[in-house]
């Protein structure tokens, strides 16, 4: 008999004579305490994200490429990892060219294995889009894909994320429903709620454990 068969048999024997419990999921418990007036949603998200050292800016969508340039140049960073095949990637490249921005653009356009050393040690910053935000917990939703791979939001010390104001939901439950996650999830979906951190030494909070030391969120107010 296989391990699988043995385990399932033992579990079934344990359940003999019992009936499955009905599903009494009371969705009010995970939604009602976490609802905000439309005007307060951004403020709620901001306050939670800022509480964990996230830098948040609200701006018109026409201005974000210049803001990204400013963020990099003010920190004196040498390069920026971006996703050339995405809409925002194309806009960034356009702006970079037009403005003659100094930091070098690195396109994530080949398998990670081909430039692992560089990705791990040489990249200063990255820019990614997001699939939305969750006000209740101060979280970004990221759905990395072939155009904007997973490591973009993990390896560089600075991660800059674009968040459309219209895609901020009150709570995780609402987000899950709105985007119908149960119908099928991508290979990897992430909630990111601040820069990487740890409190494993004496519970002292330290940022930049293994992922980004800094997270900057640009909220596009008219998008």
């Amino acid at each position: 008999m296989s391990a699988r068969g043995n385990i399932l048999d033992k579990l079934r024997a344990g359940l003999a004579g019992s009936v499955p419990r009905p599903d009494h999921f009371d969705e009010r418990l995970v939604t009602e305490p976490w609802q905000y007036a439309p005007g307060d949603r951004i403020a709620q998200l901001r306050s939670l994200m800022e509480a964990v050292q996230t830098e948040v800016h609200q701006l018109a969508s026409a201005r974000w490429p210049a803001k990204v340039q400013e963020l990099l140049e003010s920190r004196g960073l040498a390069n920026l990892l971006y996703a050339p095949a995405t809409g925002h990637g194309a806009r960034l490249a356009e702006h970079w060219q037009a403005a003659g921005a100094r930091p070098r653009l690195l396109a994530y356009d080949r398998p990670a294995e081909q430039w692992k050393e560089e990705l791990f040690w040489k990249v200063d910053a990255s820019l990614t889009g997001t699939a939305g935000g969750v006000a209740a917990t101060g979280s970004l939703v990221l759905c990395p894909d072939r155009h904007e791979p997973r490591l973009m939001s993990l390896l560089p010390p600075l991660h800059i994320a674009l968040l459309k104001a219209s895609q901020i939901e009150d709570n995780l439950y609402a987000m899950m429903h709105k985007q119908d996650w149960a119908a099928g999830l991508p290979t990897n979906l992430l909630l990111v709620s601040g820069p990487s951190k740890t409190a494993d030494i004496e519970q002292v909070l330290a940022y930049g454990a293994h992922g980004p030391r800094e997270l900057v969120v640009l909220i596009l107010e008219d998008a």
Binding site: R21, P111, L154, I201
Partner: protein, 481 residues
């Protein structure tokens, strides 16, 4: 990097280890400070008691519902994951689970493994198993890394290195990594970051645990703050997740309250920095992520606990650690005193099913039954009730067929005979009166040394007159003797 773990290898008892821990002022301070702070953080994270209680009720309901359909949910999880391209393995014992993990690594000629935090891999003693086969298995959670570097085991399921302070860690890093000694926590973390980043880059295989496995979508959900879990599950070409069979939930929506309960109960955070939902390996056109994803489902005594409707509730556990943070015993003796993978109240009720009561005979009684653990448990496991049940199972005679693995570990004929005598004495009026008469008259003759009791208390001496006696005198307004 072969490491044999000193603490659990000690041929010593819970009592012996507790005595050592209680005499260690540094250890006691480290735990006390940490537990006080974790309790405060949890309290702050649940400012509304009604909201908290409603959510705990829902958490309990979700886990109980999942357990009531566990076999079919496991099959559904397997089917969905398989359809998503994840390979599912089943293991009844830790030995089997280790063999599976090793064979996957060997099939890729792997020699270097990085591991995100996983308590199930601690159950398996995976690091040792792989080290004996010349495979380096490196912990990448900062706390786990510190503990591994010092050849120890975690003392807390969420905060593995909580028993150490920064000075001890500074010395450890200096001795083992050859870095300049620094007591700056940020600098210590950066040393860990640099060292481990190279290891992530080189690793052949990444191992992780699982917080929740969703049957509906075939998804493995992992929570973490550091990013080492994402590294371990994204960078190496192979990802192996190991988990207990009780981690499956029915629907994706079920994880909404469970994640909230978990992060708030554990750390007082509204959410962890990363919530990582993995539903499959890298697709052919994707540029990163593991080519292979495996899930190892481990039983290791869980189906034994499942067979008993009361003990089944131990499988509700979502491993938040709140019960240990609030436990007056754990706070004083620390995690290593328990001598097993899972310390504290939850450890006391799940460990017997894994290793048998013979190995942990003192676990059920190492509690004052104050009830704090049951009060804070986010999925409402009645821990004190289960400790009482385990105490009963612990002293059952073989004829009484104990229901827990190695039940009757503390059964003693002598003790049973004494209790029988005691019951007879208290239920036979004539004998009882005779006994009382004797005990009050010859009170000076009671022994001064009555076993462990007199180690820490003065010996009990019966009163000159019994309560019956005094009551009768009071009612009759006279002296009955």
């Amino acid at each position: 990097m072969s490491q044999r773990i000193p603490v659990t290898e000690l041929a010593d008892s819970f009592r012996g280890r507790a005595a050592v821990a209680l005499a260690d002022d540094q250890l006691r301070t480290n735990f006390r400070v940490a537990m006080d702070s974790l309790m405060q953080k949890r309290a702050d994270a649940f400012p509304d008691a009604d909201e908290r209680e409603g959510l705990r009720e829902l958490g309990n309901h979700i886990k109980a519902r999942a357990l009531s359909r566990l076999p079919e949910l496991l099959e559904q999880l397997e089917a969905r994951l398989t359809a998503n391209g994840v390979k599912v393995h089943w293991a009844e014992t830790t030995e089997e689970a280790n063999r599976i993990v090793h064979s996957i690594i060997a099939s890729r000629n792997g020699t270097q493994v990085v591991k995100g935090k996983s308590m199930v891999s601690e159950e398996m003693e995976m690091n040792d198993y792989l080290a004996e086969r010349d495979i380096e298995c490196l912990e990448s959670d900062m706390g786990e890394y510190i503990v591994q570097l010092d050849g120890e085991k975690p003392s807390h399921i969420i905060m593995p290195a909580i028993h150490k302070n920064r000075f001890q860690i500074a010395r450890l890093f200096h001795d083992k990594l050859g870095v300049e000694e620094t007591e700056d926590v940020n600098e210590l973390i950066q040393i860990g970051r640099r060292t481990l980043r190279q290891k992530f880059l080189e690793a052949d295989v990444g191992v992780s645990g699982v917080n929740f496995a969703v049957a509906e979508t075939g998804t493995l959900l992992l929570v973490e703050n550091e990013g080492n879990g994402r590294m371990s599950t994204t960078v190496p070409p192979v990802h192996i997740a190991v988990t207990g069979i009780e981690k499956v939930v029915e629907n994706l929506r079920d994880v909404v309250p469970l994640v909230s309960l978990l992060t708030r109960s554990a750390l007082g955070q509204p959410i962890t920095t990363y919530v990582n939902l993995i539903s499959g390996p890298r697709k052919p056109d994707e540029l990163d992520g593991p080519e292979e994803v495996h899930l190892v489902l481990l039983d290791n005594g869980r189906s034994g606990a499942f067979a008993d409707a009361q003990m089944r509730q131990t499988l509700n556990c979502i491993r938040c650690g709140a019960c240990m943070n609030h436990c007056p015993v754990y706070t004083r003796v620390g995690g290593h005193t328990y001598g097993e993978v899972y310390p504290g109240p939850i450890g006391k009720i799940i460990t017997p099913h894994m290793v048998g009561l013979h190995k942990v005979p003192d676990h059920p009684s190492a509690s004052s039954l104050c009830g704090a653990c049951g009060e804070v448990c986010p999925v409402k496991i009645p821990i004190p009730e289960m400790l009482r049940r385990l105490r009963q199972e612990n002293v059952k005679s073989p004829a009484e067929q104990p229901k827990v693995k190695d039940g009757g570990a503390k059964y003693s004929r002598k003790e049973r005979a004494i209790w029988r005598l005691w019951a007879w004495l208290n239920t036979s009026p004539v004998i009882y009166r005779l006994f009382l008469w004797g005990a009050t008259r010859f009170r000076k003759l009671t022994p001064k040394n009555v076993g462990p009791w007199t180690d820490h208390h003065t010996a009990p001496v019966p009163a000159r007159r019994s309560l019956h006696d005094l009551a009768r005198a009071h009612l009759n307004q006279g002296d009955p003797s």
